[in-house]
Amino acid sequence: MQLLLQQIMAGLANGAIYAGMALAVVMIFLAIDHLNFAQGEMATFSTFVAWQLLAWGFPYWIAFVLVVMLSFVGGIAIERILFKPLHKASILSQLVAFIALFSILNSGDGYIWDYTIKTFPTPFGTRPLFGSVLIDTHEAGMIGVTLVVLLLIYGFFRGTRLGLAMRAAAQNPESARLVGIRVGWMTALGWGLAAAIGAVGGMLIAPVVFLEPNMMFGVLLYGFAGAVLGGLTSPGGAVIGGFAVGIIENLAGTFVPYIGRDLKLTIALIVIVAVLMVRPAGIFGRMTVSRV
């Protein structure tokens, strides 16, 4: 029983990472109506920039804020330069652009900062939380920040006019234009926000998984899986999905006999596929009902 609880808590801690990533995935999905496969790489790049600023002597929180702002601008720039020319092309042509972006960033990271593993500081420290062995302060900090960001996003999309305009622009660009929304800028804004959130996620994850160019790959996988599990249209669902994936992965590794350790990822994915069979739009996702 103690082991189960421990593994669940450990899973939650990992899950916080995946939840943050899943949130960024859903966020951009809401903003541009498809997935950003280069999300992880953008986050890694931002984290490297942060590392560089810290290496140059900037205090942590100043570097943090600076990187978030730079990422925001960077996200907008990427959309305007890379994706605007392709917005009339098929979605699969845009997919190629995503893959290209992934490739460029990943390779660029390695070239500029090389492949040695680097440590990244955490503002929360790593003392056990309230003396408990189950979770430490950094993990608690991650969970906390993820929840705060989630609330902010939820509030933004549901409660503000700009958020509504962004959702509308993503779902039905033509109708959005008819009501006067500048769709191009909405998309760019969505990218900026996603890049900023990704940067926050990257800077929180790096202390745990250590900074190197492929840092985000596994995380993005699990984040993507968590977002799909929770439902791509639901930020709250994404967070829950991310936590769930963390727990499933850990439990599979510990409790499934003989194969658990090697096939953690496979098992996690099987579970998700099984869930999708029952709820094809994810647990909290809404199936779009539209008239023929």
Partner: protein, 235 residues
Amino acid sequence: MMLTVDGVNAYYGEQQALFGISFGIDEGGVRTLLGANGAGKTTVLRALCGMVRTSGEIRFDGKAIAGWATENVARLGVAHVPDGRGTFVRLTVEENLQLGAMTRRDRAAIAADIERIYGHFPRLKERRRQQAGTLSGGEQQMLAVGRALMLRPRLLLLDEPSFGLAPLIVEELFQILRQINRDTGVAMLIVEQNAALALELAEHAYLLETGRIVMDGAAAEIGADEGVRRAYLGY
């Protein structure tokens, strides 16, 4: 004239769809564009909103708007209810209406307008928090018109508002349109296949055939014309 269109051609890629279209609408006027399928009626509305490639002159309030981006034409006060309604199916009824007022800043007036729209279309009020995609065809049409009105437009473009609707609902809708025109003085250009209904509502009518305006006159006279009666009114 508030809107003047002069010698406009429209193209879908290499294919020319409109040939030398010329007409106008004055403040508060209600005009209708009739014609069979494929005549180019929808294309005329799209040309006004910059949704197709055009040549020729289009002036709104004296401003030349041919080639303007759709969102900028909308910001001038031209509200377009497209064919297929263009509802935001994943958003709620209320969110759809709020989107109509996206370019306005007067919060209190927006809220008041939403109530007024519910006044015209009580069925929408019942469903205000429902996903718009779950509404029936008639309700979605009302929602689309309501959203367009939230813009407080000077010109309302309606593309086949009667399409796919039961006759009773259509009559209701057209009565509401007449009332809105009388109360707020918004000009309307209605594209319709249902010639009888459109000619009742409008003062002036145009007949479009294969991309050209072939008749242009007062609604009553066009309605009385024998050829039109036989081809478009069924008697």
